[in-house]
Structures are given as structure tokens and as C-alpha cells.
Amino acid sequence: MIASHLPVLVILIPLLGAVLAALSRHGFAAWLIALLASAAMAAASLALLFRVQAEGMISYRIGGWAPELGIEYRIDAFNVLIVVLVSVVALLTMIYARRSVLAEIIPERIAWFYTMMLLCVAGLLGIAVTGDAFNAFVFLEISSLATYTLIALGRDRRALVAAYQYLIVGTIGATLYVIGVGLIYLSTGTLNLGLIAERLAGIEGSRALIVAEAFIAVGICLKLALFPLHAWLPNAYAYAPSSAAVLLASTATKVAIYLLARFLFTVFGGHVDVGALPIGAILIVLSVAAMFIASAAAVFQNDVKRILAFSSVGQVGYITLGLALANPTGLAGGLLHLVNHALMKGAAFMAIGAIVLRAGTAKLDELSGIGRTMPWTSAALTVAGLGLIGVPGTSGFVSKYYLILGALEAGFGWLAILIVASSVIAVLYVGRIVEVVWFREPAEAARASREAPLELLLPMWVLAGATIWFGIDAEWPAGLAAAAARQLLGGAP
């Protein structure tokens, strides 16, 4: 009985958890609720994964209404991947959060913090499972509003400005998206993604649809921080509380990318002609710019969180590049990088959060020799860094390898070279961190700190371990990504 309601349960559990956490008013109780809710949510999403693998696509009607009138949740090989990713990372973040939140947030606000975390996760999962364009907007706003609050809970006063800036930019993005959806609704008379795709087939060369596609693409690109629309991201990630930064860095942009892929392929996919819009070409140019310019900016940062944040902008470039290539290999590489980047960036943000907890700073020049006193944390940071470079043996290599193959398949030899060349910039910023952390004499901050507690190390190393594991045993994630890519490109799942 419950099994048939799984698609809606993954959203209801965190929503309900959020309400309970808000009512509890007590920090520890809220944490416990959040942890339990996340565990239940992760279990539900894994069950969903197995069901999708066994039965194929699942369609769930909210309240039993037919898709034409009601809202349909639709789970296929692609978004189940996102659901599992978000819920598992959320669970790990909750385990991680307790100690780090105690140190970073004043006690009265802790319950609110967990409420916002759960709301944010609920929103993100909602975007992933829904098959309704306007419903996706609502969930987008739920997660965004929660995110603005999470960022504003940061210790630094700059967190407020970052949250404000993100609020403005995020709202513009969501509004552009909803304008696009409105135009589509005017043309097709439905908000169901599947039905839109069907009805678009019958419409030839409508200018409203082209404009709709442009609005939706730009709106989502703002949310996923595509260069040059990325400028809200570094400050937001750098000044948010550590555990919020973990959640945001590894899931928020990824879900936005999912939404973009959903629209580009499932909705407009059959109608590249109707689109007539060189979204692919522009996306390639912007992705390459992100890979180089954002990574270069990362090299010049002093705050490790900002280095990682800029690197996120760069890495998003690789993912959107995979989308833009739009061939099975390239798309699989992009999706694989989406998952891999979530894992390694999560590990990296957890590591720097642990360092902030112990050493009280994330400034690179104050972290000399922290590897001596916090070897496990620093090792996790290093593993994640190697993954960002794409060193063989880490998952980052596998996804970049597929991207290069995809570029070659599309006949863009120069693009393959650019992918490799941009990795060199990652070597620079990761190398800076590694050099300071391991090869310098311990500075004051390093001498005063000791290894992070186990409840921080454990989730951190689950993610870092996954980075290595997926780098060596590449078959399973690559298979899932390939299946998702085939699904998106319209083949059999």
C-alpha cells in the first residue's frame, strides 16, 4: 500500500519533518527529527530506485486526478537518480550537521535551521519528482526561500548580503521560468510536461514557444549559476553555515540542472526545429567560459570555501557542456559529472567545515600544515580535490573521460583539448590547497586544532570514499547515467 505512494512520500516526509522541527523549538529535538526524516526519506528514495529499475517509469496522480486536470508525479531513470542523490546527501548532511551547527548558530535558531534544511530538501525533491511545470515552480520557490534563510543564518554579516543578492537573483530566475511556463500554457493549454511534449509536436514554428524556451533556459541558468550568471553563488556558499553549504553545493545547482535537462530534452527535445534557438551553441560557449574563467578565479581566492565555490561554477560548466553536446556519450558524461561533482564537492565542503570547526578559519594562509593535526579531514579534502582535477582513480576522471569521448563523437576535437586544458587550472587551485595543507610547517591555527570528531569524519569519508570507489568501479554509475541519457534522448530506458 505504502509502496504505491512512494513518489509523494519522499516529499511529504521532509515537509512533515519541517513542521515538527519548527514546532519542537528545541535544537536537539529538531536535529533528531531532521535526522529521522532524512533517513526515512533516503529509504523511500532507494525503494523508489529499485522500483524504477524493476518496473520502469512510475506515474503517480496526486489525489487521483488525471494528468490533464491534476498534478502528475513522474519518476523515470533520470530523475530517480536525482532523488536518490539529494536524499542520500541530505541524510549525510544531517549526520554531519549536529556538531557543526552547535558551533556556528545561536541556540534559539537551531530548530529553525533544521526546519529550513528539511524545507529546502523537500523543495528540491519536489522539483525532481514532479511532472508538472507550474508545480516545479512552486517547489523551486519553496527550496529557494528556505535557501535564502539558510544562508542568512551564517555567522558573518556578509551572509546577509549574500542571501539578499541570491534572493533577488533567484526570484528573477524563477520569474523568468514561470513566464516561460505561462507562454507554453497559453500555446498548449496544459502544464503537464508529458502532454506539453505531445502537443508541441502538432505546433509548427510558433514564436511564442521559442520565446518560452529562451525564458525557461535563462531562468534556470540563473538558478544553476551558469557563467556569467554565477556571481551570487560564491558569496552564498562561502558565508552560509558549513552544513548548509554542503547541502547547497552538492544538491541545489544539480536539481536546477536536472530541470534544465528535463525541459531541453523531454519537453523541447523533439522540436529543435521549433526552437530554432542555438541554445546548444550558446551553452557550449558559456560552459567553456565557465570552465576557464571561473576556475581561474578560484586560483586567486584566499578563502578555501570561495575556492570551492568558484570551482563549483567551473564544474557546472562541464555538466552543462555534457547537456549541450546532446549525444549519448556526452550527455552520460554530463550526468555522471553531476553525480560525481555532488559527491566530491560535498566531501570538500564537509572537510572545510570540519576545519572551520576546529581551526576557526577557512583562510588558506592561516591553514598552513593543518594536515599534520587533522590528517583525515585534510586527506578527504585532498581526495575531493583530486576528483575535481580528474585524476585517474577518482570519479572525476571517469566523467571527464566520457565528456571527452562525447566531444570527439560530436566532432569537436578542439573541445576535447579544452576540457583537458581546463583541468590544468584545477590542478593549480587544488595544488595550492594541498601545498599549504600538507607541505608547510604548521601555523598557529593548525597547532591549536585536533582531528575532527567522528560524526563529521564519517559522512565526509562516505562521500570521499564514493569519489574513489566510483573512480575505480565505474561500471555501475556509468551504467545508470547512460540509461538516464538514453531516456532523455528518447530511446528505450
Binding site: 526561500l145 533577488i168 514561470v178
Partner: protein
């Protein structure tokens, strides 16, 4: 012109709102612009839903033409979202005023950017 009045009003609100967001440094004014921008969306959805001569979609004798109820429902949700955003934005502005003593974005950026300009590697953590 009159026939397209609703579209023109929508586009005017949209552009005006976006312009205010871009051009004004005052954070409250920015939020006002943002609200205008969002309002344009309400119009975009609602105006085509109005059918001339149509009534509320309640089945009853003598009424055959109904207005489309769905846009209204959608926009009800969007309005809620808009209010929540505006409220949160204003809250943030209050907090920013407490922390910085100003709500002009230029002044805040100036406060967070170090004055000295002496080469690379510094100032990277200024907001």
C-alpha cells in the same frame, strides 16, 4: 493598440520592474522593482484566462461560457510565493541595516572591499 492593451501593460510592468532592480542601489527599491516584475507575471497568466461574457466556472442553468479557472488558481499560489519572497527580502534588509547601518548596495560593497590594492592573493574574501 487597444486590443493588445493587456499585453502591453504586462510587458511594461515586466521591463519597469527589471529596470528598477538593475538601476537602483537601494535595497528596498530593488525589492519594489522585484515585486513589480512578479506582478507582470500575474497579468500574463490572468488576462488570457478572462473570457468575454464568461462567468465563474460553476455549472448552472443558463450559463454556457465559463472563464478558465486554472490560471486563477496558479496565480493565487504565485501571489503567496511573491508575498513570502517580499517579506523575507524586507526582513533581510532590516538585518542588513542593523549590521551595516546602510541599505545602499554600493556603500556595503565599499565597506567590504579592502582599500589597499597591492597585487594578487589579497582581498579575495571580501564581499
Amino acid at each position: 493598440m487597444i486590443a493588445h492593451f493587456s499585453q502591453i501593460a504586462t510587458i511594461f510592468l515586466m521591463v519597469a520592474g527589471l529596470y528598477v532592480v538593475m538601476a537602483r542601489g537601494n535595497m528596498v527599491k530593488k525589492l519594489i522593482g522585484l515585486s513589480l516584475f512578479q506582478s507582470s507575471v500575474y497579468l500574463l497568466y490572468l488576462l488570457p484566462g478572462k473570457v468575454i461574457g464568461g462567468t465563474a466556472p460553476i455549472i448552472g442553468a443558463g450559463f454556457t461560457v465559463y472563464a478558465n479557472p486554472l490560471p486563477h488558481v496558479l496565480i493565487l499560489t504565485a501571489i503567496v510565493v511573491g508575498i513570502a519572497t517580499l517579506a523575507l527580502g524586507l526582513t533581510l534588509v532590516v538585518r542588513i541595516k542593523e549590521a551595516y547601518g546602510t541599505i545602499e548596495e554600493d556603500e556595503i560593497i565599499a565597506k567590504e572591499t579592502p582599500k589597499t590594492r597591492n597585487g594578487p592573493g589579497r582581498g579575495g574574501d571580501a564581499a
